[in-house]
Homo-oligomer: 425 residues x 2
């Protein structure tokens, strides 16, 4: 089944509010095998609402309307639907009794508008409002829109969320013939277009009902693989096959086939390997540490971080040698290596990563342009000695994008090293 | 003038992404005296895009389309517009040269798709993309849609944001023949509603043509004051008067009357006072240091940062005493104070700020719930001794929001202290 969402409310058209309701409805319906084809935000006017409902019902099996159900004067949805469907508004005694009772139990005098609040479209299936006053409705249309459904819900997010989960999704899951499966492929170290080149042939030969979507991302590629059809097993197999062939073709870039971040992936790998990480940052200024500690439970594997901007603090905290700084400059693989090694030893960690570069916009030179970063990685070996590696990475964003891409390149270096180490037990 | 927004992208219809672009466009256009009447999200298919553009152009003076401009195959906007307007795609030599140059300067080989990326609708005014590859376009339609405008922008938020501010809003402001003045008021430590209460009377008595827009923000309030009219001096005076009265009413929360961040404001204050700052972070995991170093030139005042998660690293790096950790627990003002003092001395800085708290979702207790953070501030006095202050801040978001709000509270503590210190020369 195909659905459209109509979100009503001027606050969504003036930039005061973001339409988070539509996002929630979309993901809930996807799970019910209902695909949303359009989301329309329109103003509170009765005329706009009626016209939009007519358009949308003409194109879809289900039209979900949020907002404009309250008892205040700018809530026009009930009236618009009444006029459009040529049905009466009738008092729902159950809703009325519950709201009166709720007022009494909270020691408030029942307000006059509670009766108006309990008026519903004749013949509608009422959706109880667990979190607020205005009831929702599922209306089965007739005449030219026979067999099509009109769903009315309040615009208050928590009221709408409770209704869609408790009543709307179960109602349509029962009726929906189709199955939709989404999978995620997360890649790093490659852009959208580069990735598209690699999987060109696969993309040209997708099974019917399966599609790819590239979701933009500051420092990598998020790919969504969606399959739709009537046969659950067939849909799942198509989806699985496509995911497998894409992962096979782009193995060196793919870090996950779930919707997780690179830092979350690294956190899991550190734990399965029983390793603790430390970070020494110059140009990334704490961003690598902050990303690693964005993950709940990161205290289990994050030992500590140093943000060392000045040469002095690199020497003082990490034991970077003055001669190295003077000979090669602060932005050099030599300094990155000493930062990582010093960090590993000072923090007593098992693996350490370092960054020193030029985030910009100033400070670039011919040999060391803005957007260049030198990265170091140090690892403790079983015999106690230290392995270290370095690399240089270049990009061309503004300061903030450079910091994000630098941190992504550093995390990538850690991820690649961890892949080469065996997981325990 | 009346506008509609068409947001293209299946990721908006599957619940993957929330449509923040539309909100930004609405508030920017409102400032330009353009009212948005509808927002439509539709899928990547060429047919859906073409049909929607026809509908929307039939109803509005301006139709803004975001998304589907990249060079990958699920980016269909260019083709749809080409077919709909019956115009050719032509190579924009300027865009092509700039992207080639950008690739070269970052040491990458220009990719084949750069040519396709530089193809624009014949006759379109090109909007340069400062933050990415795909150019935007402002197209003046003809025939049945004469005098109506079609604006194409990428879906990547920061690329779209730069385009609408640098080119699109000025373009339509000029055409509307009116004068528009925007001012920004940046406040921290107070929510949207709390701020609205404070300026209630001012908001009720705004001069004609002046409007306020609250722009959502994770840890404070961004208020835009827009004044529109025909008489330049009158418009400027109205705007200035409103800004002054708001700042007067909310002085303790307002850190800037320009569109700058709190970290940028603090950077300026540190420089005018000739002070260097250091940071000691537990629960914020490097975010405070990362925010301070997001500012270009921060090496002039950022001394260094410690990310100390474990008790051991707090003792080892900052000299926090074991007895303090055992007596009061790691999350306590006592530990926050020793962290800040130790950080100040170890780093040899003039001012130091520290954080220790529970970002969640786990680790909370009755006495120390998730969302609670203890902050410390240490300052070197002229006689060499150290002043220190502590405070406890509580909020209730998810882990990432808590980290942002914790870091904001820490920066706020620094800002308030700096306000009390005299600027030099």
């Amino acid at each position: 089944m195909i659905a459209e969402i109509i979100s009503i409310g001027d606050e969504l058209l003036t930039g005061q509010k973001v339409n988070t309701n539509a996002r929630l409805i979309c993901s809930e319906l996807a799970g019910a095998g209902v695909g949303v084809k359009r989301i329309i935000v329109c103003s509170d006017s009765e005329e706009a609402i009626t016209g939009q409902i007519a358009d949308s019902l003409g194109r879809s099996d289900i039209v979900l309307v949020t907002g404009g159900l309250g008892p205040t004067r700018d809530d026009r949805t009930r009236q618009a639907v009444k006029a459009f469907l040529k049905r009466e508004l009738v008092l729902d005694k159950g809703v009325y009794a519950r709201t009166i009772e709720r007022y009494r139990s909270s020691g408030r005098e029942p307000a006059a508008y509670l009766e108006q609040n309990a008026m519903v479209i004749d013949g509608a299936m009422v959706i109880p409002n667990e979190k607020g006053l205005a009831p929702g409705m599922i209306i089965t249309c007739d005449d030219e829109f026979r067999e099509r459904f009109l769903v009315l819900m309040p615009g208050v997010p928590q009221e709408m969320e409770a209704m869609i989960q408790s009543t709307v999704v179960p109602f349509f899951t029962d009726r929906s013939g189709t199955v939709i499966v989404h999978s995620h492929i997360k890649a790093t170290g490659i852009g959208e277009t580069g990735f598209a080149d690699i999987i060109h042939d696969i993309e040209d030969n997708l099974p019917d009902g399966t599609s790819l979507a590239y979701l933009p991302h500051a420092a990598g590629v998020n790919l969504r693989v969606s399959s739709i059809g009537n046969d659950k097993q067939g849909v799942e197999k198509d989806n699985r096959d496509v995911v497998e062939s894409i992962v096979g073709a782009a193995e060196e870039f793919v870090f996950a086939t779930a919707d997780i971040s690179l830092e979350e992936c690294i956190g899991g790998m550190l734990q399965t390997r029983g390793l603790r990480i430390a970070v020494a940052e110059s140009c990334t200024g704490g961003l690598i540490a902050s990303r690693l500690t964005d993950i709940s439970g990161s205290s289990r594997y994050f030992e500590q971080g140093y943000v060392v901007y000045s040469n002095e603090s690199k020497e003082r905290n990490l034991g970077v040698r003055q001669v190295t700084l003077e000979t090669y400059g602060a932005v050099s693989e030599e300094v990155a290596a000493e930062m990582a090694e010093g960090c590993l030893l000072k923090a007593g960690a098992d693996i350490a990563v370092s960054s020193t570069g030029i985030a910009g916009p100033d400070g670039g030179t011919e040999q060391k342009p803005v957007g260049m970063v030198c990265l170091g990685l140090a690892c403790r070996k079983d015999n106690g000695s230290v392995d270290s590696y370095t690399t240089t990475f270049s990009t061309n964003g503004d300061r903030l994008r450079n910091k994000i891409r630098f941190s992504e390149a550093a995390l990538r270096m850690v991820w690649k090293k961890l892949k080469s180490l065996p997981a325990q037990g």
